[in-house]
C-alpha cells in the first residue's frame, strides 16, 4: 500500500471514531454544553486538556523550531509546560471551587462589574480567534501534503467535522473526542521517533538516544555542535547565541509560562471535573500527558537536525533524498545553486555560501520569477538576471521551513508507509482537538457571557442552548475563512495571544483569588494597563519600526513585562480605591476553604445563577 492509501485509511478511521464519539455524547442542557455536566474523571480530563493544549503548532512546528534554534528552543519546551505548574497551583482548584462556566464569568462576578466582564470577554474572544486560525491552517497543510488535495478543501473538511461534533455534543462531545485525539496524536508523535532513535543511536528511548552516541565515542549532540561550527551556525547546545540573549530567553520563557496559565480554553477544561481535588489531579495528569510529547520533541529536533544537514549538504541533485523532492514542491525548502551543482547549506556566519531557502510568505509567482532570474544569472555568469540567493537572504528566508521537520522525519529515516500515515492522522488530531476547545470558548463567550449575563439575563435554557450552537457555527465559519485567507502575520498574532493572556488574564485571576480585598477599579485598570502596554509594544516593534526600547526584549517576551505592569498598577490602586464588597470578600473566603468544610456551597446548584 502507498503512503497516500494508508493516509486515507488512517484519517478515515480516526474521523469516523471522532464522529461516533460525538453522536454518543449528545447534550440537551447548557451545563452539558459548557462544562460536560461536570462529571469528567480527573485522568480523562488530563488527557482531554493535553489534547486541547497541544495544537497543530506543538505537533507540526515545535520540533522543527527547536531543531533550528538548538538550546533556545527550550523557551517553548519550558514555557509551554511550566505554565501548567502555575495553572495547577494558583488557578485551577480555586476557579473550580468558584464554579462557573467561563473565565469572564469569574472576573465579572468576583469584581461585581460588567465592565470587567466585558474586558475579559473581549480578551477571550481575541485570544481564541487568533489561535483557531492557525489550527485550521494546520488541518489544510496536512491534507495538502498527504492526501494531495487543495489546502482550502482541507480546511473545509476540517471545519465540517469540527462543526458536527462541537454543535452536537458541546463540551461533552469535545471532551470525548479530545481523549481519543490525545491517543492518536501521542502515538503518532512517539512511534516514529522511537524507530529513528534506534536507527541512529541504538537506544529505544528517544530521551536517552538524544544523549547517546552516533558513532563509538561520538555523542550525537557533540557531533551536531561540530557540524554547526563547520557550517557557520551557532553551536547547537550553546546557550545565548544570536538574538536569543539571556534577557530574551528569560522573558520569553516567563511570558509563555504565564500566558499558558492564562489561556481561556485550557482554564475551562478544569471546570468540567467533579470536585476541587479532581481539578488538582487533572492538572497533574494534564502536564504528565503533555510531558510525554514535550520530552520527545527535543529528541525529534536533534535527530531531524542531523538528517537534514547530513542528507542535504554537499549533495548533487541526483544524490538528494526522496523526501527533498517531495517537500521542495511545497516551497517549504528550495535550492538556489551557485553553479557547482552541489547543494550547500550554511549558517549566518557563512551566509554568502548558503543555497538552501524557503518561500515563506512570498507569492509562488514572485518566487518563480526570482528562480527564472537566478537561472539566467547562472547561465550568463552574472551578466544578466539576478542572484536569487542575495534576495532570499535579504528577505530572511534562509534555511528550510520549520513546519516540515516533524512531517518529513519519518521519510528521512525511511520508515514504513503506515507510520508516515499515522503522523498525518496525528497532526490532524492535534489541530482538530485544539480548534474544538477554542470554538467552545468563543461560543460560550458570546452565548453565555455576552447574551445571557449582560444582554438578556431572563433568557431560557433552551434559548441559550440554541444560541450556543448557532455561535459555534458562526465561529467555525469565521475560523475557516481566516484559515483559507490567512493574514500574513500569523506568527506575530500568536505572540500577541500569549502576550495578552500573560498581561491580562493571568494577573487578574491571581489577584482575584489571592488578594481578598481588591475591588473592581484596580482590576479593570490593571487589565487595561497590561494589555495597552503589551499590545502597543508588539504593534510598535513589529509594524511601526520602533526600537526594542524595553531592555531589548522582543515582541515574544514582552508579555512578562506586561504582567509586571498589570500587577504594579492593580496593587498600587488597591491601596487607594474602595475594597471589594463584603459579598465578594465572602465569595473569596468560600473559594479558599477546602471542600466539605465551611459554609456548604453546593457547587452543582450555585453556578446555575
Amino acid at each position: 500500500m502507498t503512503v497516500q492509501a494508508w493516509t486515507f485509511v488512517m484519517v478515515g478511521l480516526t474521523f469516523g471514531l471522532y464522529l461516533f464519539l460525538a453522536i454518543r455524547a449528545r447534550v440537551r442542557d447548557t451545563q452539558g454544553f459548557y462544562v460536560a455536566g461536570r462529571g469528567v474523571p480527573a485522568i480523562l480530563n488530563g488527557m482531554a486538556t493535553a489534547a486541547d493544549w497541544m495544537s497543530a503548532a506543538s505537533f507540526l512546528s515545535m520540533a522543527g523550531t527547536i531543531s533550528l534554534l538548538g538550546y533556545a528552543g527550550g523557551v517553548y519546551l519550558m514555557g509551554w509546560t511550566g505554565g501548567f505548574v502555575l495553572l495547577a497551583l494558583l488557578l485551577a482548584p480555586y476557579l473550580r471551587k468558584f464554579g462557573h462556566f467561563t473565565v469572564p464569568d469569574f472576573v465579572g462576578d468576583r469584581f461585581e462589574s460588567n465592565a470587567a466582564r466585558l474586558v475579559a470577554l473581549l480578551c477571550a474572544l481575541f485570544i481564541s480567534f487568533t489561535y483557531v486560525a492557525g489550527q485550521m491552517r494546520g488541518v489544510g497543510i496536512v491534507f495538502a501534503r498527504f492526501l494531495e488535495v487543495d489546502v482550502d478543501l482541507g480546511v473545509v473538511v476540517g471545519m465540517a467535522l469540527v462543526f458536527v461534533y462541537a454543535t452536537l455534543g458541546g463540551m461533552k462531545g469535545i471532551t470525548w473526542t479530545q481523549i481519543a485525539q490525545y491517543w492518536v496524536l501521542i502515538t503518532a508523535y512517539v512511534v516514529p521517533v522511537v524507530f529513528i532513535s534506534l536507527q541512529l543511536t541504538g537506544e529505544p528511548l528517544p530521551q536517552v538516544g538524544m544523549g547517546g552516541e552516533i558513532a563509538p565515542g561520538v555523542p550525537l549532540l557533540a557531533k551536531l555542535d561540530q557540524i554547526h561550527r563547520d557550517l557557520g551556525f551557532p553551536s547547537y547546545t550553546e546557550a545565548f547565541t544570536g538574538s536569543w540573549d539571556k534577557v530574551n530567553v528569560f522573558c520569553t520563557t516567563l511570558a509563555l509560562m504565564v500566558g499558558t496559565a492564562g489561556l481561556p480554553h485550557v482554564i475551562v477544561r478544569f471546570y468540567t471535573v467533579r470536585t476541587v481535588g479532581a481539578a488538582r489531579w487533572s492538572g497533574l495528569w494534564a502536564l504528565f500527558f503533555i510531558a510525554l510529547l514535550y520530552l520527545t520533541a527535543p529528541a525529534t529536533a536533534a535527530f531531524a537536525r542531523y538528517y537534514v544537514v547530513q542528507e542535504l549538504h554537499g549533495k548533487t541533485a541526483a544524490e538528494l533524498p526522496g523526501w527533498y523532492h517531495t517537500w521542495q514542491k511545497t516551497g517549504l525548502l528550495v535550492w538556489l545553486d551557485d553553479g557547482d551543482g552541489k547543494l550547500a547549506y550554511h549558517g549566518p556566519a557563512q551566509q554568502a555560501q548558503n543555497e538552501l531557502f524557503r518561500i515563506g510568505g512570498m507569492a509562488t509567482t514572485e518566487f518563480a520569477d526570482l528562480r527564472a532570474a537566478h537561472e539566467r544569472w547562472l547561465a550568463t555568469k552574472g551578466q544578466e538576471g539576478q542572484d536569487g540567493r542575495v534576495v532570499m537572504t535579504q528577505k530572511k528566508l534562509t534555511g528550510p521551513d520549520a513546519d516540515i521537520l516533524v512531517l518529513a522525519t519519518p521519510e528521512m529515516a525511511q520508515l514504513a508507509a503506515w507510520i508516515i500515515a499515522l503522523v498525518a492522522a496525528g497532526g490532524l488530531a492535534a489541530a482538530l482537538s485544539t480548534a474544538s476547545g477554542l470554538l467552545l470558548v468563543i461560543s460560550s463567550s458570546i452565548a453565555h457571557d455576552l447574551y445571557f449575563r449582560i444582554l438578556r439575563p431572563q433568557a431560557t435554557e433552551a434559548q441559550r442552548l440554541r444560541l450556543s450552537r448557532v455561535a459555534i457555527g458562526f465561529a467555525v465559519v469565521i475560523a475557516g475563512v481566516v484559515g483559507i485567507f490567512p493574514p500574513g502575520f500569523v506568527a506575530e498574532t500568536v505572540a500577541f495571544a500569549f502576550g495578552l493572556a500573560a498581561s491580562s488574564f493571568f494577573p487578574v485571576l491571581v489577584l482575584g483569588i489571592f488578594h481578598r480585598r481588591i475591588g473592581a477599579i484596580p482590576a479593570i485598570a490593571g487589565m487595561l494597563a497590561g494589555m495597552a502596554f503589551t499590545a502597543s509594544y508588539i504593534l510598535g516593534t513589529v509594524y511601526l519600526g520602533w526600537p526594542k526600547w524595553c531592555f531589548g526584549i522582543g515582541p515574544q517576551g514582552i508579555g512578562a513585562v506586561g504582567m509586571a505592569v498589570h500587577f504594579a498598577v492593580a496593587l498600587g490602586l488597591a491601596r487607594v480605591c474602595p475594597p471589594a464588597s463584603p459579598t465578594a470578600q465572602a465569595m473569596v473566603a468560600a473559594m479558599r476553604a477546602p471542600e466539605g468544610a465551611g459554609p456548604g456551597v453546593d457547587i452543582a446548584r450555585a453556578m446555575e445563577h
Binding site: 539571556k246 468544610a597 456548604g600
Partner: protein, 110 residues
C-alpha cells in the same frame, strides 16, 4: 457559621490556619518552579553547560528535559501535600464541632 461560644478554637480561626499553610506550600513550590525552569534552565544555563551529563551539556539538558520532568514532580508534590492539608483541616473542624455540639445544627464540618 457555627456559634463560636466559649470554645478557644473556632472555625474561622481553623480556616485561616489552613489558608496560611496553603499559601506557604504554594510559595515554596513556586520558588522551586522558578529555580528549576528560570534558574537552571535559563539564568545558570551557560555555566551548567560546562558540566556533562552523559551525552548532554547540563544547562541544555535542564532546558530541554530536566525542567519538564521537574514540573511534573512539583505538581505531584502539590497534589499530595494539599490532600494532607485538607484532611488535617477536616479533622480540625470535626474536633471543633465536637467541642461545641448542639447550639448550631448547620455548624462547621459535614
Amino acid at each position: 457559621m457555627p456559634s463560636s461560644s466559649a470554645a478557644p478554637d473556632t472555625v474561622p480561626a481553623a480556616n485561616a490556619r489552613h489558608w496560611r499553610a496553603v499559601v506557604r506550600l504554594t510559595l515554596v513550590l513556586l520558588a522551586l518552579w522558578a529555580a528549576l525552569g528560570l534558574g537552571c534552565g535559563v539564568l545558570l544555563a551557560d555555566g551548567l553547560n560546562a558540566v556533562q551529563l552523559g551525552g548532554f551539556p547540563l544547562g541544555f539538558w535542564f532546558a530541554q528535559q530536566g525542567a519538564i520532568v521537574g514540573f511534573v514532580l512539583l505538581i505531584l508534590v502539590y497534589v499530595l501535600a494539599m490532600r494532607r492539608l485538607d484532611r488535617a483541616h477536616r479533622a480540625d473542624l470535626a474536633r471543633i464541632a465536637a467541642a461545641n455540639p448542639p447550639a448550631d445544627p448547620t455548624g462547621g464540618a459535614r
